[in-house]
């Protein structure tokens, strides 16, 4: 039994800044949700269910905040689900929402993901000493830096490759009015001279801490037909997880990421991702993750990711632009970052990406998110044409 055809029929997001002092958490999510509803030509009453996602509750200090947010999200009297799958959550949340439509249960589902990191301190929130566990007290950068060093050793990549990504994504962000970081003067030298945080990561190789929210309305074929504007058809969704640590685990090129990509490509009929996609929005919170994920996602053979980055293949005018929006390196409201990737590719295939619109050839694009210790993956493929089944 096949699933119902499903599409993104509305997209909305806040501008992303380090601290939104002008709105509460409720105000923040409401802003993104309202924009998505307006985009879809819908009102709150048209929504059948709400699916909300965010990363750990410690980031704001509110336990299961969706309970307090229920009325702000127009969920009163409706089903509401809260997803939490670590950094991949924004993507997973969109997938859970999409499945409610694919299953034929609902016609129009509002999905929202957010983080208001100014309420707390994310690095501190990630560094809590847990009962029964060895304290790492490293934050995300401290956790991923050794894995990046392993990649550099394995691939023989020159030491400036990560910095090239840092420059490229920040230049892309200049086209995106909602991105947090706008650094018009950035160049390789600026990145190389920024403070060393966790070798080899310098300050400008690292994502910012953001307040922001992303929202989408996901609808059935019937809802898509009634939408006032173009829609982004969902051609495939996939999630994969593996444990954090075990002997022999490849943390540089995780199996779960490869399996997830293979699954979503098979659903969407993707055989050569570099040619079959017009662009990709991929979760790159630390610059070196671009070449690492190029390999993990099959855009090139293992060991060659850095060569694509160096050759400019992933640049805005390259043959396969990665993160034309500026990516996670330019805005990172953690729980929303995955959904921003999913939403930005929907905007690309709807030709609604404004100044960072890429030319459409195949009309398909990949949204990607990952989380935990590179162990949770969520991906979707969207397209400007209706899928066959």
């Amino acid at each position: 039994m096949g699933a119902e055809r499903t599409a993104v029929i509305g997209v909305g997001q806040t501008r992303h800044v380090s601290a939104r002092h002008d709105v509460s958490i409720a105000g923040l999510v409401r802003e993104a949700a309202q924009e998505a509803l307006d985009d879809a030509g819908l009102d709150w009453g048209d929504i059948d269910a709400v699916v909300i996602g965010k990363a750990p509750d410690m980031f704001e200090g509110v336990v299961m905040p969706e309970l307090y947010l229920a009325d702000a999200l127009g969920a009163s009297g409706k089903p509401m689900i809260r997803v939490h799958t670590a950094g991949s959550v924004g993507g997973s949340t969109a997938i859970v929402a999409a499945k409610l439509v694919m299953a034929g249960i609902h016609e129009r589902v509002l999905t929202v993901a957010f983080e208001k990191q100014s309420e707390s301190n994310a690095t501190w929130g990630l560094s809590v000493a847990m009962p029964f566990q060895a304290p790492l007290v490293a934050g995300a950068g401290g956790y991923f830096a050794p894995i990046i060093r392993a990649y550099i050793r394995r691939s023989g990549a020159p030491d400036y490759i990560g910095h090239l990504v840092s420059v490229k994504d920040r230049l892309n962000a200049l086209r995106n009015p909602k991105a947090q970081l706008h650094l018009p003067d950035i160049d390789l030298k600026t990145v190389q001279e920024s403070m060393l945080l966790w070798a080899p990561l310098r300050l400008l190789d690292v994502c910012p801490s953001s307040d922001g929210a992303m929202a989408m309305v996901i609808g059935s074929e019937q809802a898509a037909a009634a939408a006032p504007g173009p829609v982004a058809w969902i051609h495939g969704t996939a999630m994969r997880s593996e444990p954090t640590m075990f002997a022999g685990r490849d943390q540089v090129n995780p199996q779960a990421g490869k399996d997830c990509a293979a699954d979503v490509y098979a659903q969407a009929g993707i055989t050569n991702p570099r040619e079959d996609f017009d662009c990709a929005e991929v979760y790159v919170p630390f610059s070196w993750y671009e070449p690492m994920w190029l390999e993990n996602l099959g855009f090139c053979p293992e060991g060659d990711g850095w060569k694509l980055t160096e050759a400019g293949a992933t640049a805005f005018d390259g043959d396969i632009p990665w993160n034309p929006s500026g990516g996670v390196l330019s805005s990172n409201p953690i729980g929303a970052s995955g959904m921003i990737r999913f939403g930005e590719v929907a905007q690309q295939v709807r030709e609604r990406a404004g100044d960072f619109q890429v030319p459409l050839k195949t009309g398909k694009a990949l949204g990607h998110a990952y989380g935990g210790g590179s162990q949770f993956f969520s991906m979707w493929v969207v397209g400007n044409t209706k899928p066959e089944s």
Binding site: G61, V62, L67, Y68, M80, H84, V96, M102, P243, Q375
Partner: protein, 354 residues
């Protein structure tokens, strides 16, 4: 709307303790998952989807669900998700995944170790962080407020609350997973001190560490592996706005909506397991679910005698399914709730006959 696939509970296991000093979450979850899978008759690697429900704040750190993967088994990589909700909602998401046709079976587990912290104050942090949480009402304070509103508007008294507690404690004597049980009379109980007016300690769910796991499967798979699967006939959930002034606290509108949509009263109900963490909640929920007077409510003793938070709702589904699978009941309803004053509610109708 197209027709839904038939999905049934085919395996259930749970474990609880007053204070599990010797084991971490993974050690608590592992045997429960193994037992539920064994009972399902399916092999772990043949189960299509894995999902859990838990709450980071119980352990006081981010990503507590991540270590749960070590217990569930996730190598080679699995299709997996997690809700920061009672695991009854994880079961709902698994049921949806089966409805899409992507998978045919799922393992669902929930766990909580509230003995590590102060549960009643942790739940305070579920309230509006700007206007309510700053006053630090504990979850028991809020429940007592609701109990007071309910008793004064319904004309009932604390004797009605005591009757709920007495029956729950008696039923719990037959439940090895209950952490409190007692054969006590209503009058005797009414002689005990009121600790949070109008509630006594016996009206308040005990702190319980524990975990539960359920395996569900679709159509022919369920029939193949299980002699008498507990078929999910309806599963629905709804949420109310949280602000205490926005609704009549003597009622649970979202529970009533979910019950109606799930078709609770489309047939006779033999057994009901209700996620009432306070005695008055059972009375409110009986009305919301429209249960007849004769319905056997919380034969396990219910959450008033065993409350492994984040698994308590899933246990309700497991308890009803267990009674259907072993032939003690034909049709039953399981209910899960979360949030202050029964804010969010899920209702699941289960049946033995296909």
């Amino acid at each position: 709307m197209r027709s839904l696939r038939d999905v049934a509970v085919v395996g259930f296991a749970q474990d609880t303790a007053v204070k599990d000093r010797d084991r971490n979450e993974v050690e608590i979850i592992s045997p429960v998952v193994r037992e539920a899978v064994e009972r399902s008759g399916l092999k772990r690697r043949d189960i299509g989807f894995t999902i859990s429900g838990s709450c980071d704040y119980l352990a006081g750190g981010p990503f507590t669900f991540v270590s749960g993967l070590d217990a569930a088994g996730a190598w080679p990589p699995v299709k997996e998700s997690h809700v920061e909700m009672d695991a009854a909602w994880a079961l709902y998401e698994a049921w949806v995944a089966i409805q899409t046709g992507d998978v045919d079976s799922a393992l669902i587990y929930g766990f909580g170790k509230p003995s590590l912290g102060d549960l009643h104050e942790i739940w305070t942090l579920q309230t509006d962080p700007y206007t309510v949480a700053t006053l630090w009402p504990s979850m028991v304070d809020l429940a007592a407020l609701q109990a007071d509103v309910y008793l004064s508007s319904s004309g009932r008294s604390d004797r009605d609350l005591a009757e709920v507690a007495v029956r729950s404690l008696r039923n719990a004597q037959r439940n090895p997973y209950a952490v409190v049980s007692e054969d006590v009379s209503v009058d005797e109980l009414l002689g005990r001190p009121v600790t949070h007016r109008p509630l006594r300690d016996t009206d308040i769910a005990p702190i319980t560490d524990g975990a539960a796991a359920i395996v569900i499967a679709a159509d022919d798979i369920a029939k193949r592996v299980c002699e008498r699967p507990a078929w999910i006939r309806g599963i629905e959930h709804r949420v109310d706005p949280q602000h205490l002034g926005l609704r009549d606290l003597a009622t649970a509108p979202s529970a009533a909506q979910a019950a109606e949509r799930a078709g609770v009263n489309d047939g006779a109900i033999d057994v009901a397991e209700i996620h009432a963490q306070f005695s008055h909640e059972e009375l409110i929920l009986r009305e919301a679910l429209g249960l007849a007077d004769g319905v056997d409510v919380n034969p396990s003793g219910g959450p008033l005698t065993s409350n492994p938070v984040m698994a308590t709702g899933l246990v309700r589904i497991g308890e009803v399914a267990g009674r259907i699978m072993d032939g003690r009941a034909g049709r039953g309803v399981a209910h899960a709730a979360q949030g202050p004053c029964l804010q969010q509610n899920l209702v699941c109708v289960l049946e033995g006959s296909n």
